[in-house]
Amino acid sequence: MQERTNLGPIMDAAVARTKARMQPQGIDADYDLAYEHFDVTHFLLQARALLSNDRVDPLRLYLRNGAEATLSPEINFSMQAYLARYPEKAGGPEQSPYLEWLKRGQAAGEIADPAPGPEKMAPVLGMDAAALVELLAATRSGLQERLRTGTLGEMFARAAEVEPLIGDAWTETTRPTIPPLFSVNTVDQVAAMHACQRAAGFGTARVVLVATEPRWGGGRRVEGHIAHALSSHLDPHDIVVIYTDKSGTAPPDRFPTGVREIDLAGEVDGMDPLAAQRMLVELIRSFHADAVVNINSGLLYDGMTTYGKALAASERLFLLLLCNEQLAMGNWLGRPLRYFYRCFDLVEGVITDSAWLENWLQDRHQLGAEQAARIHVFRAPVDPRVPVVSPPTPDPSRRPQIFWAGRWDRQKRIDIAFEVARRMPDVDFRMWGESVLTRGHVGEAPDNVSLEGAYAHICDLELSQADVWLYTSAWDGVPSQLLEVGMTGIPIVGSLVGGTGEVLGEDDAWPVADLENPEAYERAIRDVLADQTRARRRSQALRDRLLRERTEAAYSEHVAGLLLRSAEREEKEGEAG
């Protein structure tokens, strides 16, 4: 008997004809099992070509297609969703994974629901995945039933009489979207947002630092300095650090206790890039912070390119720019080159670690005084608790030791350090650091170089044996290494590049301007070794200058003054607009 539905008599007749030619019960047990669940109307709405085909048995066709089947046999089963979770079912003993699910999978709680990501969304909704799948199935089935034979479908059909183009959308009743499981991207975004906010304890923040990754080693780094500086002005709990590009953990002493760290990179891993940008932007906005500082976050730079104006409408954004880098081909790339001009008009200010970079930006972009005033140099503080290291005990039989430490990459010019060592066979060179270069790039180490391997912090080295600290980078800002070594009283011979001149003065260190010339480094080292007492006096002057110029108090005032909204400033902003 022909069922009457809101789809209309022509469709109803086609369904009846199709059912009439399907295989009778009792011939094939698998077919009979599937037939109990197979929804002919649902299937034909997806395969309209079969409506005018009087020979094909749709269920036989569906089962024969096995794991390759693209249509769904009933509204709550999706072959693609099932096999994405259980790929091994594609090669199972059954003719079709659908049979596997009907016989065993469904009872075992296996999920074949067509909605994207119920497992991810369930915790957001406060339920487990099974309960959510059950709710989705009930919702979908109820909707389908009411569309076919209820008032809902009657309204659909009546509208299709007014506007026949609506009738073509009957096919969409086979796959209704049920928010919040709107799409893979949306589910990923909502789940990641919820997870990140939960990690932040669902609390607002006054300052949000958005960093690439929780880089291990190297002491506080700029994000740590900023957080410590702010901690005398606010509760560290009001600072949030978001890692956007790479997961990991930061050293325990980088931040003051209470700073909240969020591993957004882990949450957006595998997410569509645009969706991840939006997720980060919404997360940032949700903190309602005084300031947001981008510390080299690639995802935030991308997000600012897409959503910059909208983000800037509510947030006080700052870019923290460090140096560009020279690529193997010789050309230069980096955040300052690529993003300063893209973002400058959007942000409240740009922060650099060196006056050198500030000047470079002003000059390159030909900024006027008003614009240049938005560039700020945060002069990293030194730690006055670092003790002066005693020089090696004078001993005519002892060979002098030159210390060098750093990441073994192109920037650090290992080749120069090796060449200096070759020119000084009477001196020992001890070099620390993990190599990211092959031996082929730097050549064999000379015999008087000992490779000491990785190090966690400069203080862990045997500094009392260091006669000279050698620094050979080809480019840099103000490296924390020089600030740390500068406090130990060890004489520093270092390349004069970027911001290093803001640490290494002519009167209290041995800056080398002729970077490519190993002889220049040798001359400076020999000058130190010739009169160690004079050299140590000069280095003490460096320490004294650093203590004067780079106090934690001044740094803290500068950072807080710029980043935190004061009541006075808010009042001014309110008056302005």
Binding site: M155, A159, I166, P176, M193, A310
Partner: protein
């Protein structure tokens, strides 16, 4: 106030496409009147093109009040029309969309029922069907559903801009102006968030449908829309978002 409902169709440059729209609207108005409701019908013409003006001047639309505005923006048009309307409730319809024949009558029933329960409610159709240039279908989710999470509203709107609301809701929470050049858009989305925060209940009316006609949209327009955000709202702050929708008036 003697008028139960004001239906407002808004148009700017639409002409022939409004034929089915107006027919569906007339059928729904007739059905509502058949249930004893008084209905005011208004066509809001916003900076209409000559062709649109001519189209809506036709005598067979004379049973609709015609209002001409020059707001050039949907939100502002709605804001301008609401104070001049008579209805306890206001139902909007964009010129190229349709709603189901029962939407107006059932929407009023749902809002009246909410009022009797002491709730201040805003109604949405149950189903959103996109047709013509693209086809898709999604459910609108009632605020009381277990599928409702405020976190979704960071990324997507649970509802379409078509809704039925008490006049006072629109007077209390007018639509904001779009600022597309600065990436701030989605007035209806913002209306939902702000009304939720103000304690309005968003209810879905069973067995009702909005049919959204998807016409040709330029890639540039689509791209600009995708790059837009709802304004940053206090209600979406990390420490408040979980409470969104739990406020009672």
């Amino acid at each position: 106030m003697s008028t139960d409902l004001t239906v407002i169709v808004t148009a700017h440059d639409e002409t022939a496409v409004c034929g089915p729209t107006m027919r569906a609207a007339d059928l729904a108005v007739e059905a509502a009147r058949g249930r004893g409701l008084t209905v005011q019908t208004v066509i809001g013409l916003d900076a209409p093109t000559e062709a649109t003006s001519t189209y809506f001047r036709q005598p067979h639309f004379d049973h609709w009040e015609r209002r001409v505005l020059h707001e050039r923006e949907l939100g502002r048009v709605r804001n301008a029309l609401v104070p001049e309307c008579d209805g306890r409730y206001i139902a909007f319809l964009d010129a190229d969309d349709l709603f189901s024949e029962n939407w107006l009558a059932e929407g009023v029933v749902a809002l009246d029922a909410a009022a009797e329960r002491g709730e201040h409610a805003i109604a949405h159709p149950e189903l959103n069907v996109v047709f013509d240039g693209a086809k898709t279908m999604w459910l609108n989710i009632d605020q009381s559903s277990r599928l409702f999470t405020p976190h979704y509203l960071y990324f997507r709107h649970y509802y379409d801009s078509l809704c039925m609301a008490p006049r006072e809701a629109h007077l209390e929470i007018p639509y904001v102006t779009r600022d597309v050049p600065n990436g701030l858009s989605y007035q209806d989305f913002q209306f939902t968030i702000e009304s939720l925060a103000a304690g309005w209940r968003h209810v879905v009316v069973t067995d009702t449908i909005i049919f959204k006609r998807r016409r040709d949209v330029s890639l540039v327009t689509e791209s600009n829309i995708r790059k837009s955000l709802v304004r940053a709202l206090p209600a979406m702050a990390i420490d408040r978002v979980r409470d969104l929708g739990s406020t009672r008036r």
